[in-house]
């Protein structure tokens, strides 16, 4: 009963400070990373290279915003990389079969939404025990469909409008895709902070049983996050097809893992209920900056994988540490009130 010899007020303040640093950690590390890289390579902070980083990060960023909502509900979506590929193939095929380029983008987004809807319904109605299994199945299934539809080959040329969205730049360096990322980010931010549905997504992630008891439509919420994740895969498909001017069944390989990594590195909790738009974006930028810096430094891509792995471990360990410190804080409060 007399365990705390130290003055509680001080350890309290120290704990709060440590927690603040941990929560701000990913952003601080990103800023630090940028400063270090910029001081080492003058090439890094040139407009051209910044444009490169943004363009390279756009796909991960968009996917991570979809993945964020899924992870907030304690889920995971492994199918987005395959879905991205399917969207590019579907878009290219529709374009080449003589359709107006106006229908190409809706078809690509529609393909994403369709896969997301299937994921959500299989999870909720099919009562498959964990979304990992559902989306593992569609991960391979959808990639198979993309290969089958395209005969396993890339399809060159997509509509001009897709090329502009995915590949063009404004002022010679700001990628158009960055504006797409910004638009999706603002939409998700509004949803999660201002709209009832977004509040419910966090409620379902925080305590699904309590959400059910308070008449929150849990099943519909779950379906909606997978549907939205599918939509982001469709959008990422538009960006990828535009950037490469092609549709290909091999696009987006491992993109789902980048997206998941971005969300986790940014500081969202894999246990659900916690994670913000800004965090997913920071995580995506971190991956983009690390890749770019290692390219500039001419380091082997093997090292990129190693570094990314270490970053993920550090991120998750700091989340564990955060949980531990929060628990300490709670105990201190309990003894004082």
């Amino acid at each position: 009963m007399h365990q705390s010899a130290e003055p509680p007020a001080r350890s309290d303040a120290a704990l709060r400070m440590a927690l603040f640093l941990l929560r701000a950690g990913p952003l601080l590390i990103l800023v630090l990373l940028i400063l270090v890289i910029a001081s080492v390579t003058p090439l890094f902070l040139t407009t051209r290279n910044i444009g490169n980083v943004l363009a390279q990060t756009a796909v991960i960023a968009v996917l991570s915003l979809g993945q964020l909502l899924v992870i907030v509900t304690r889920g995971i979506d492994l199918s987005v990389g395959s879905t991205l590929a399917l969207a590019t193939v579907a878009g290219a095929l529709v374009f080449h079969s003589g359709n107006s380029s106006l229908v190409v983008i809706p078809v690509m987004l529609g393909a994403g939404v369709l896969v997301g809807l299937v994921n959500g319904l299989l999870f909720v109605k099919g009562r498959i025990p964990h979304p990992f299994i559902v989306t593992l199945a569609t991960f391979t299934l959808v990639r198979g469909v993309a290969l089958w539809l395209s005969d396993g080959r890339p399809i060159q040329e997509v509509p001009q409008v897709v090329q502009v969205i995915g590949g063009d730049s404004i002022l010679g360096w700001i990628p158009v895709s960055t504006f797409v990322v910004a638009a999706v980010a603002v939409a998700v931010w509004l949803l999660t902070t201002r709209v009832v549905w977004g509040r419910w997504i966090y409620a379902v992630g925080g305590n699904p049983e309590a959400a059910r008891r308070t008449a929150i439509p849990v099943s519909a919420i779950l379906v909606s996050v997978y549907l939205f994740s599918g939509l982001t895969a469709g959008i990422a498909g538009v960006l990828t097809a535009g950037r490469t001017n092609a549709g290909a069944p091999t696009f987006g390989a491992l993109a789902e893992l980048d997206a998941i990594a971005a969300v986790i590195i940014g500081g969202a909790s894999f246990l659900g209920g916690r994670g913000k738009v800004s965090q997913a974006l920071v995580g995506a930028m971190m991956i983009g900056v690390i890749r770019n810096a290692m390219n500039l430094a001419n380091l082997d891509s093997f090292f990129q994988l190693i570094v990314l792995g270490i970053v993920i471990i550090v991120a998750v360990e700091s989340d564990v540490l955060r949980g531990y410190l929060e628990n300490r804080l709670r105990l201190i409060q309990a003894t004082r009130t």
């Binding site: 409620a203 049983e209 519909a220 659900g272 709670r330 009130t337």
Partner: protein
């Protein structure tokens, strides 16, 4: 049965509930009045939880009726019970640890606009919700270190207080509390008992399940003792009746 000649706020008449072969509730009659605290006592498996789950819409009675303010009601879900002004604080508190007290208060019944949109698409009235929450917490004298912090960062007593305050904020008739002081320290338990008295003072009916006999004697106006799904006694808890209550619970001579 009436008290002060008034009608009960909620009654269960011949409430019976089976789970497979187990008779969890056997022809139980209960009356709860406005402005009183009714304790439901009994050993584990006596049927207390089943009784309050039937009162809060989680379970449905196999036979018997629930009467609210003189009208028989059908409750198919906890939200039906909530619509009747019955709020429940479950033993696990059913809090969203990742959300602020305000978000917890309003989970599933957010203040939002515009009304012509479907509920889920509406925009949150964040300021109004946090104002009301702050007012309720102030009225109940619940002090929180950080009003915007997620509930998961709060102590057991603070969490319990938030859960009770949430029920209080929306209740118009009856608050049901399942083991509200279990797992709390002495001071924190005292605060929750204080909250219960405040609720009674506001003219609400309160039903409390508790194993803590001291707390029951301190706060309850009436105690109902259950054993094996049946009501075996109903009496006023006091130091004098303590032994009688205990023997009713364990099944000795009343």
């Amino acid at each position: 049965m009436t008290q002060d000649g008034s009608f009960p706020m909620l009654s269960v008449r011949s409430g019976t509930k089976r789970f497979g072969g187990v008779l969890a509730l056997d022809e139980v009659d209960v009356d709860v009045f406005a402005g009183e605290v009714l304790a439901v006592l009994g050993d584990n498996g006596a049927g207390k939880s089943t009784l309050i789950k039937c009162m809060s819409g989680v379970h449905r009675l196999d036979s018997g009726v629930i009467v609210v303010d003189g009208d028989p009601v059908q409750m198919h879900s906890p939200s039906d019970a909530r619509a009747l002004g019955i709020e429940t604080v479950y033993q696990d508190l059913a809090l969203f640890d990742n959300l602020s007290p305000t978000a917890n208060f309003y989970a599933g019944r957010e203040m939002a606009w515009p009304r012509w949109l479907p509920t889920g698409m509406r925009l949150l009235r964040r300021r109004s919700m946090s104002q009301v929450t702050q007012e309720v917490l102030d009225r109940l004298q619940v002090a929180l270190p950080d009003f915007e912090a997620p509930v998961g960062l709060m102590s057991g007593g603070q969490r319990q207080a938030v859960a009770v305050a949430r029920a209080t904020a929306f209740v118009s008739r009856l608050v049901i509390l399942d083991e509200p002081t279990a797992a709390l320290g002495v001071r924190e338990a005292a605060r929750v008992l204080d909250l219960i008295r405040r609720l009674r003072g506001e003219g609400k009916a309160v039903v409390v399940i508790s194993h803590a006999m001291d707390h029951v004697i301190e706060v309850a106006d009436r105690a109902l003792v259950m054993r094996r799904g049946r009501k075996v006694g109903e009496l006023t808890p006091s130091e004098d009746s303590r032994e009688q209550i205990v023997s009713l619970i364990v099944g000795g001579e009343g």
